[in-house]
């Protein structure tokens, strides 16, 4: 088990290095640079800035310096926020994104499993039809639409009730978190519901469930121990990447609800060619994703006795 984990971690490290290198090359291949703007600078001022950021060195040297610093866990200073280290940006932004993401994923997982089980149990009856219709809606409508609609609904509710339970935007209290996390989790929940439903239906027709039934076990016990537990496996598989995607990919939701998370940096840094922030966030996200996948594989081994982890 330990050897398996170590091996996976080593592979993960190579993956992260590969991500970093590919991003570094792509970033420098794009025309333009972090210093350019609508207003051009005089050559002297530009030279001073290049020297300050080490951009006057050959790209190979820049890459070498980047690798050494990355190994030390230092991604340098942002180009657009020249007083902040990339590490500080991640340190301050990630907990916010993670809070939002954890809430969203818990909401999505709980909701998805429950609704999936519900639709499978009431297959082809009213709850199934209604929920599956909503699921298709949830999968096909992008999150920025839900975000905008959710926010508008809040404005209307506040105006109508004359009192603010859930604020329209901002961050800081529990009440600020509820609506954005629901909005963020909605798509994943819809997806998980569908996955859970089909997996549940599959399990219902298996031999072990039929055996359990014929043994005369109580239905509730069959449902919980035999059906739910087995049907949940595929959901766990997709949960890992989904956690990574949601905790870092809430860009639109963060923007709409004015949430100070890390998500916005993934988009803005690329637009502004903020080299250090691009590298910092990409490597961080890559490492996070790799780690999540490893954890899911380990968890998989714990809940599915058929899976044995071997190095």
């Amino acid at each position: 088990m330990l050897r398996y984990i170590l091996k996976r971690l080593l592979h993960g490290l190579i993956t992260v290095w590969f991500i970093a290198t590919a991003t570094f090359i792509a970033m420098h291949a794009v025309p333009g640079d972090p210093l350019s703007g609508e207003k051009a600078m005089t050559p002297e001022i530009r030279r001073n800035l290049e020297a300050k950021y080490g951009l006057d060195k050959p790209v190979v040297d820049q890459y070498r310096i980047f690798l050494v610093n990355m190994a030390k866990g230092d991604f340098g200073i942002s180009y657009t926020q020249q007083n902040r280290e990339v590490n500080d940006i991640i340190r301050e932004g990630f907990p916010v994104s993670a809070t939002l993401g954890i809430l969203a994923i818990v909401f999505a997982a709980l909701g998805g499993v429950l609704l999936g089980a519900l639709t499978a149990t009431y297959r082809n009856r009213l709850p199934d039809v209604v929920i599956m219709f909503l699921v298709i809606l949830g999968i096909s409508v992008p999150s920025f639409v839900f975000a905008a609609l959710g926010q508008l609904a809040l404005v209307k509710i506040n105006a109508w009730s004359g009192f603010t339970l859930f604020p329209v935007a901002g961050w800081g209290t529990v009440m600020h978190m509820v609506v954005p996390s629901l909005v963020l989790g909605l798509g994943t929940m819809a997806y998980l519901t569908r996955l859970m439903r089909s997996s549940m239906l599959e399990v219902t027709n298996t031999d072990y469930v039929r055996t359990a039934r014929s043994k005369g076990l109580p239905p509730a016990r069959i449902f919980l121990k035999h059906q739910l537990r087995n049907a949940i496996l595929p959901v766990v598989t997709v949960l890992g990447p989904a956690i990574a995607a949601i905790t870092t990919g809430g860009f639109v939701v963060e923007l709409v609800f004015a949430i100070p998370g890390l998500g916005r940096y993934f988009v803005q840094a690329v637009q502004q060619l903020d080299y250090t922030v691009i590298m910092g966030t990409t490597v961080f996200y890559g490492a996070f994703l790799v780690l999540m996948v490893i954890i899911v594989d380990i968890v998989y081994g714990l809940i599915d006795p058929r899976v044995r982890l071997k190095a």
Binding site: P43, I89, A169, G170, V174, V256, A258, Q272
Partner: protein, 569 residues
């Protein structure tokens, strides 16, 4: 249809009951998690915790949404609008602009600007937020920092007129040789490299704000990184700054002119670029202004109109134009081709029928209409030569050009633009006009912002849509744009006659002679079709009617809340 058996019904009912209990448990778990995370996030921050209404009479304060986090609050290095807005409220330079944009006393109580230099007498009661006086040494230190190559300040070029500044920036002289001297604590003497008639206006600019040496050094390189890494001497102090989340100004009780400041606080609990979010916040009464910077987009403006909100307009001061490429291999180097293009561009149609954004006006010259001349507005003193659309004449010019260039067929012209919807729309308009009126093919080269800049600087275009916002309040900020040495002259336009007039404008003190020089520059640019100006940009914004006394500016601190106050309807 498959009908469930009694046994199946039984198990369904049982499963349903289990599910019900599970749902209750799940909801409980979610709420518990919310509570735990809510408790934890108390440590991670977030500025909207105690945010009140947009206009708060009880606390005599207002709340706003900002479009971005202030990227750089070190006044010597700052170059963006949001940081400038923040610094303008928490700091003060030697002079400042009043509500009519007149330059008035700031830290300096009196001053004189001569041809060879300037002298400022500092007031006794100007204080830093730790109680120590603001002295002439704080300005000397700050200005040396600006020109120090190690600082690499983007706006260092503003100090070029001060003696030795250019040489220091180029690394040829030490920063200590800059022509600025603290004769004593309360007298600052500045020596010029060349006459700077607009130096008083420059002295109010953010880049020239003071920085205190002992405090700067005590921060070990993290000066201005956080609110506690700053000292204030302006109308407000930065009471809170949570990165990416919020910031807040509170009235500075140590400010020498504090009776001028009426608001107790300006709170910015929201930072987002999403225009819908800010509209919703205004709708919900959580902020006092929408679209203060950048202005309202056409969609937001429509919403504001439908909602019946009070909409205001202002000029942002910028001029937009089609920059033409004069590099040797480019067709646009041919004057007759440029004249042909110039004669078919109908600015009125472009602004009023294509752009259709309120506040935009057609630009007949690279010098905008609001610039001050010697006595009246510059454009009243020197009206721009009128160019009326004349397709026949344009075609004549085009035929001449074709002959001169020895072309059998016109190859397509490359029109470089941004990939934003509005930029694309503008490019397509000119594509149609040049095709219909002149039969010229235009190939649109759409690029994302950074790539567009890179291609523009490398000269990979025939025509590019560009704009210029003023750096300081003098016609020179527009007048030297097309001087052969200006790095923003992306088309590499070179005209010795124009260069000579720019030199004259730079080296003369007499306002009439300077304006005459700018008049000549304007004439040359239009006659030579060096650039095809299109529009002057305006901005629309929404402001709560109970908020009064907000000053909007084309150049300088904008918006300015230092004179603002609340008044019930």
């Amino acid at each position: 249809m498959h009908l469930p058996t009694a046994a199946e019904q039984g198990s369904t009912r049982s499963a349903g009951r289990s599910l019900l209990w599970l749902s209750v448990g799940a909801a409980g778990l979610f709420v518990l998690l919310l509570w735990v995370l809510g408790f934890l996030s108390g440590m991670t921050g977030g500025g909207a915790r105690n945010s009140g209404p947009g206009v708060d009479f009880r606390h005599n304060s207002i709340a706003l949404a900002a479009s971005q986090e202030p990227p750089q609050l070190d006044s010597t290095r700052t170059s963006d609008q949001v940081s400038n807005f923040v610094l303008g409220h928490i700091m003060e330079g030697l002079l400042r602009q009043d509500e009519h944009d007149e330059v008035v006393a700031g830290v300096a109580e009196s001053w004189e600007v001569r041809a060879d230099g300037a002298t400022f007498h500092l007031r006794e009661n100007a204080r830093w937020s730790d109680g120590k006086p603001v002295t002439a040494h704080d300005f000397v230190f700050a200005w040396r920092l600006v020109v120090d190559p190690a600082t690499a300040a983007t706006y260092a070029s503003l100090l070029f007129p001060i003696r030795n500044a250019e040489a220091i920036i180029a690394g040829k002289m030490p920063p200590e040789s800059l022509g600025v001297v603290a004769t004593n604590d309360r007298q600052l003497d500045v020596l010029f490299e060349r006459p700077v008639p607009y130096f008083a206006k420059l002295a109010a600019f953010t880049t020239l704000f003071p920085v205190r040496e002992d405090f700067f050094r005590s921060r070990n390189g993290s000066y201005a990184a956080n609110a506690e890494d700053l000292l204030f001497n302006g109308p407000f102090r930065l009471a809170r700054w949570e990165h990416d989340a919020s910031f807040r100004f509170e009235k500075n009780e140590l400010y020498w002119d504090k009776q001028r400041v009426k608001l107790a606080a300006v709170d910015v609990p929201y930072i987002t670029t999403d225009s819908n979010a800010t509209l919703n916040l205004y709708r919900d009464g959580k902020i006092a202004m929408v679209g203060q910077s950048p202005g309202l987009g056409s969609e937001s403006l429509k919403q504001a109109l439908i909602s019946g909100w009070p909409i205001y307009q202002m000029r942002d001061g910028s001029v937009w134009y089609l920059q033409l490429n004069f590099r040797p291999e480019r067709l646009t180097r041919n004057r007759n081709l440029r004249k042909a293009l110039q004669l078919v561009v109908d600015r009125g149609e472009y602004v009023y029928k294509v752009l259709k954004t309120p506040g935009y006006v057609p630009a007949a010259s690279v010098f905008p209409v609001w610039l001050q001349g010697a006595e009246k507005k510059f454009r009243q003193e020197y009206p721009a030569p009128e160019i009326t659309v004349d397709v026949t004449e344009a075609r004549r010019y085009l035929a001449l050009a074709k002959q001169e260039l020895g072309l059998a067929e016109w190859p397509p012209l490359v029109f470089l633009c941004d990939d934003t919807p509005s930029s694309s729309k503008q490019a397509e308009y000119f594509q149609t006009v040049f095709k219909e009126k002149l039969g010229l093919e235009v190939r649109i080269d759409r690029q994302i912002f950074k790539q567009r800049i890179a291609k523009m600087q490398a000269g990979e275009f025939d025509i590019v849509s560009a704009g210029w916002g003023p750096d300081y309040d003098d016609p020179l900020t527009f007048g030297d744009l097309f001087a052969s040495w200006n790095p923003n002259n992306h088309g590499e336009y070179k005209n010795p006659e124009l260069d000579r007039w720019v030199r004259t404008a730079q080296e003369t003190v007499d306002p009439h002679a300077r304006m005459a020089a700018f008049g000549e520059i304007q004439r040359i640019m239009i006659e030579d079709a060096a650039v095809i100006t299109t529009y002057e940009r305006g901005q629309s914004y929404v402001q709560d009617p109970r908020l009064k006394g907000v000053v909007r500016r084309t150049i300088g601190i904008d918006p300015d809340f230092s004179n603002a106050y609340l008044e019930p309807n």
